[in-house]
Symmetry: C2
Subunit: 483 residues, 2 copies
C-alpha cells in the first residue's frame, strides 16, 4: 500500500488539491492538516463583511468540514505540521492537545498561505488595533466597530470563531475615528468598509499614491473616490508609530515628509494595519528548499519545489509570470485555487501545468473600480530587460450620447523594440475593472500593441463606444511607439 498524499493547510490551494486528487484517484488516500480551526474561507470577502455588505460570517465559507469529509478527504483541523523530513518522506504533526506523531507521505503539498506582516507596528495587546488577515480578526473588527448594545452576535455565526475575542471587542465603546495604515488594496477596502460603518476614516500611505502596484493613474482616481465619500487620504505620509499602550490612542506621522500631517499625531480610537504580508515558509526551514521572490517557496511549472515529491501552492509559493517567464510572488486567490487543482491532478497521475500568472488584480473604492495586470511599473519592466513605453488615456465607457457614459482611464505599457504589451491598468465607474481581463488575455497571448489595436472588441452603445477605451489606449501607445 502506498502512503497518502499529505497536504498542509486547508484553504484555497490545499483543499482544491485534495478535492481534485480524490476525484481523479478515488482509491488513494489524502490527508489535510490544518493548524487552526478555520478552513476554506474567503479571505477577499472579509472587508465586505466588515462593511456590512455581507450579513453572516458563515457566508464567507466555501466548504464546511463536513463537506470536505464527504469528498473523501481526511481533514485534521487544529493539527499542525511542525517538521518535514524530505529524505524520509514524512512529516511530524502535533495536535492542539499536544500529541505528536509521524505521518509518511508519497507526495506532499505545502499550502501554508501567508500572514499579515505588520512591519514595525505591533498590534498585539493593543485594544482597537488590528491587522486583517484572518477570520478571527474580521470578527473582532466587526464587533469592535459596533456599538456595545447594537452588536448582533449572530454576525459571527461560525463555531470556529474566537468567541472570547469577539465578545471582548463587542463590549468596548464603539470607535469614532479610524486610521488605516497602508493604502494597498486591503487598506482601500478597509477604508471603504469603516466609512460605510459610519467612522471618520484616515488612510496613511507611505508613498505618493495609493495602490502602488496599480500605478499612479489608478491611485489618484481611487484617492479622489475615497475623499468624495469623506475618507481623508494622506499620501507621502509614512506612519512613525502607533500611540497607546492598552488601547490605541493616536497615529504618529514621520516628520520627514511633504504630507500636511508630517510630524503630527492624529488621534484615533481604531487602527487597522495593512502594510504587507509574508509567505509562511517556516515549516521548510532547514530543508534546504529553494526560495524565490518575496522569500516564497520557489516552484516550477508543475508546482514542484526543489525537494523531491514536495509541491507548494498558494500564497506561500511563487508562480511563473507570463511576461517575464520568471518566478514571481503575487499571492492572489485564483492563483491558489488553480495551482492547487493542477497539483491535485498531477499527483493523481495526470500531469497538469499550474499556469502562469499575469498579476491580474481588481479592487473597488465605493463606485470606482480599478484593475491592473502585467508589468505596469516602468522600472520593473526595465529591470526585466524591456524598454518600456507607457501612455494613459481617458475615454468614455459607452457611446457619448448614451446615459451613464463615464470617464475611464486606461494605462498601457509596451516594449519599444518588439511592441509587445507588457502591462496595463483601468480605472473608472462603469464596468471598468472587468475590462482588465481583455488585457490579461492579450498579455498571456504575447500580443503586440498593434494587435491589441486591431482587436474586434464589442461595440454597443450601452456598454462600449465604437472605440473601446482599450482600443483608444492601444492606438495612442502605438503612435508613441512609432515616434
Amino acid at each position: 500500500m502506498t502512503d497518502p498524499f499529505v497536504v498542509v493547510g486547508a484553504d484555497a490551494a490545499g483543499l482544491s488539491a485534495a478535492s481534485k486528487f480524490r476525484r481523479e484517484a478515488p482509491d488513494r488516500e489524502v490527508v489535510v492538516f490544518e493548524k487552526g480551526r478555520w478552513i476554506s474561507y474567503a479571505y477577499c470577502g472579509m472587508p465586505y463583511f466588515v462593511a456590512g455588505y455581507v450579513d453572516r460570517m458563515s457566508d464567507l465559507l466555501s466548504l464546511s468540514p463536513g463537506e470536505v469529509d464527504e469528498r473523501g478527504v481526511d481533514l485534521r483541523r487544529e493539527t499542525e505540521v511542525v517538521a518535514v523530513d524530505p529524505d524520509a518522506k514524512r512529516v511530524t504533526v502535533e495536535t492542539a492537545a499536544g500529541d505528536r506523531r509521524e505521518q509518511a507521505y508519497d507526495d506532499l503539498l505545502v499550502a501554508t498561505g501567508a500572514r499579515a506582516d505588520p512591519g514595525p507596528f505591533d498590534v498585539r495587546g493593543v485594544d482597537g488595533a488590528f491587522t486583517l488577515h484572518d477570520m478571527d480578526a474580521a470578527a473582532a473588527i466587526d464587533a469592535y466597530v459596533a456599538e456595545p448594545d447594537g452588536y448582533d452576535p449572530d454576525r459571527a455565526d461560525v463555531s470556529a470563531v474566537d468567541r472570547e475575542r469577539v465578545d471582548r471587542n463587542a463590549a468596548m465603546p464603539a470607535p469614532e475615528t479610524a486610521a488605516v495604515v497602508g493604502g494597498g488594496y486591503v487598506g482601500v477596502e478597509v477604508a471603504e468598509a469603516l466609512a460605510e460603518r459610519g467612522l471618520d476614516v484616515h488612510v496613511f500611505h507611505r508613498s505618493g499614491h495609493l495602490l502602488s502596484p496599480f500605478g499612479e493613474a489608478v491611485g489618484t482616481r481611487v484617492e479622489a473616490a475615497l475623499e468624495a465619500e469623506g475618507v481623508a487620504v494622506h499620501t507621502d505620509a509614512p506612519v512613525e508609530s502607533l500611540v497607546g499602550d492598552d488601547r490605541i490612542e493616536a497615529i504618529e506621522i514621520a516628520e520627514s515628509t511633504d504630507a500636511a500631517v508630517g510630524g503630527e499625531t492624529v488621534p484615533v480610537d481604531m487602527a487597522v494595519v495593512g502594510v504587507g504580508i509574508r509567505p509562511n515558509t517556516d515549516l521548510l526551514d532547514g530543508t534546504g528548499v529553494d526560495l524565490g521572490p518575496g522569500e516564497a517557496i520557489r516552484v516550477d511549472d508543475r508546482g514542484r519545489t526543489s525537494l523531491p515529491d514536495v509541491y507548494a501552492a498558494g500564497d506561500c509559493a511563487t508562480a511563473r509570470h507570463a511576461v517575464t517567464g520568471e518566478p514571481d510572488w503575487t499571492p492572489l486567490g485564483l492563483t491558489a485555487n488553480r495551482a492547487g487543482r493542477a497539483i491535485g491532478a498531477t499527483v493523481a497521475g495526470d500531469p497538469t501545468p499550474v499556469g502562469d500568472i499575469a498579476g491580474t488584480a481588481a479592487v473597488k473604492a465605493f463606485d470606482t473600480e480599478a484593475a491592473r495586470v502585467g508589468l505596469l511599473d516602468p522600472e520593473a519592466a526595465a529591470e526585466a530587460g524591456f524598454d518600456p513605453v507607457t501612455e494613459t488615456v481617458t475615454a468614455g465607457s459607452r457611446s457619448g450620447y448614451y446615459p451613464g457614459a463615464a470617464e475611464t482611464d486606461v494605462t498601457l505599457v509596451a516594449d519599444r523594440d518588439t511592441g509587445r504589451l507588457l502591462g496595463g491598468s483601468i480605472v473608472g465607474t462603469d464596468r471598468a475593472a472587468i475590462r482588465i481581463d481583455t488585457l490579461a488575455t492579450a498579455i498571456e497571448a504575447d500580443m503586440t500593441v498593434a494587435e491589441v489595436e486591431r482587436l474586434d472588441l464589442a461595440y454597443a452603445p450601452p456598454f462600449s463606444p465604437v472605440w473601446d477605451p482599450i482600443l483608444v489606449a492601444a492606438k495612442v501607445l502605438n503612435g508613441a511607439l512609432d515616434d
Copy 2:
C-alpha cells in the same frame, strides 16, 4: 498634379478614411460624395433615441459637415456617385439639382453602407409601418409614437431631417400596440424602446429563439427578459403579411407554425420591420467586381477590391474572419471605422491592415446584457471544417456572498481535434456583455480552451468569483473535449 482620393459615402467608414488620409497626407486632396443629407450618424444609437434615453437626435451625430470641412475634407452632400469607370479611373456624380459631372480619382473608396431589406414586407406608403435603418425613419418613428399634442419637435433637431415626414407622423394618433417583425438585435432593441414608450409590444420571430446569431442560451434569456417587462414574444412565428393599405391594421402570422398565434391576425397600429439588411453594391454593377458572402464587395486584408485602386469598407464590404481566415459579411460599427481608418492610411502611403473580425456583437434587453463572438453555431463551424464541441454553463458573476451576484450563462464552442476556441456567448444582468471581449481576444490569439482555462483573469468579489464564468465554461468544455 495627382487626382484626389475619392470616397463614396460619408458615414463611419468613409469619413474615417478621409480624416485619416488628410492627417497622413495633408498636401493631397480628398473628396467625399454623399448622396443624402445625413453624415456621420450613430446608426446603433437610433433605438435608444426612440426609447427616449437620448434627448436629441443631434446627440447621435459624431461630426457636423462643418467639422468635416475643418479637417480639410471636401464633403459634397446630396451628390450621388452614379457610375464608376475603373479603367478610366473616374466616377460620374450627379447632384440633387440634376447636374452631372465626371471626377477622376487616384484611389477610390466605396463606403456605401447597407440598407434595410424588408423582404416581402413593403412598408412604403403604409402609415405606422417602418423599417429602422436611417435617421429619418428614427425621427418619424419617434414622432409617430408620441401623442400629437405631446410631441416635442426639438427632438429631431437636425437640419438634415425630413421635417415634412416628421410633422406628418407627429400629427397621427399615437399607437397603442406595436408589432416588431424580426427578433434580431435591432428587433430586440426596438421592442425595448417601444415598451419604454408605453406601447404594448409584440415581437414576431421566424425561428425558435430570438437573436439567432447569439445562439439559443442567449435567445431564451433575452426572451424572458423582454416578457418580464411586458413584451409579448412569439417565436416560431413567421409573419405572413402586414395588413392595412394606408395605415397598418394588423399582422398576419403564417398558419404552418407551432406558435400559439399561428394563422392568427394580430391587430396593431404600428409595425417596425427589421428582418435584414443588404449591402449597397449597385454602384459597382457592371464593373465585374468580385462579390463575397452576403453579396458584399469582396476585399483583401488591406481593403482592396478586385478592381485596381478601388477599396471598399464598412457595411458594403466583406472582412476576413479571424477563425476561418475567409471573407465574411458581418456589418458592424467598429469594423467600418477600423477599415476606413486603415484604408485612409494605406492610400496615404502607410500600408495598414484593416484587421480581422471576430463577429463580436453585444445587445441589451432592459437589464439583460448579451454578447457573442466567433463561430457559435455548430453547423457553421462544421461547414468551416471544424468538429465543434459546445457546452453552456451557468455561473455567478460575483462571489456568491457578494450582493448583486447574478447568474451568467456562458456558451463556448471549440474544435475537438485541436481544442481551439471557435466561438462563445455570454448573457446575464451583471457586467455580462463586456466580458465577451476576453473571448474575442482569446479567439483572435488562436487560443485553445485549455489555454483559456488557465487565463489569469481578475478575481475580486464585487466583479468576479474566484473562477470567472468564462473559466468555469472553459473547464467544463475541456472536460467534454477529453471525453
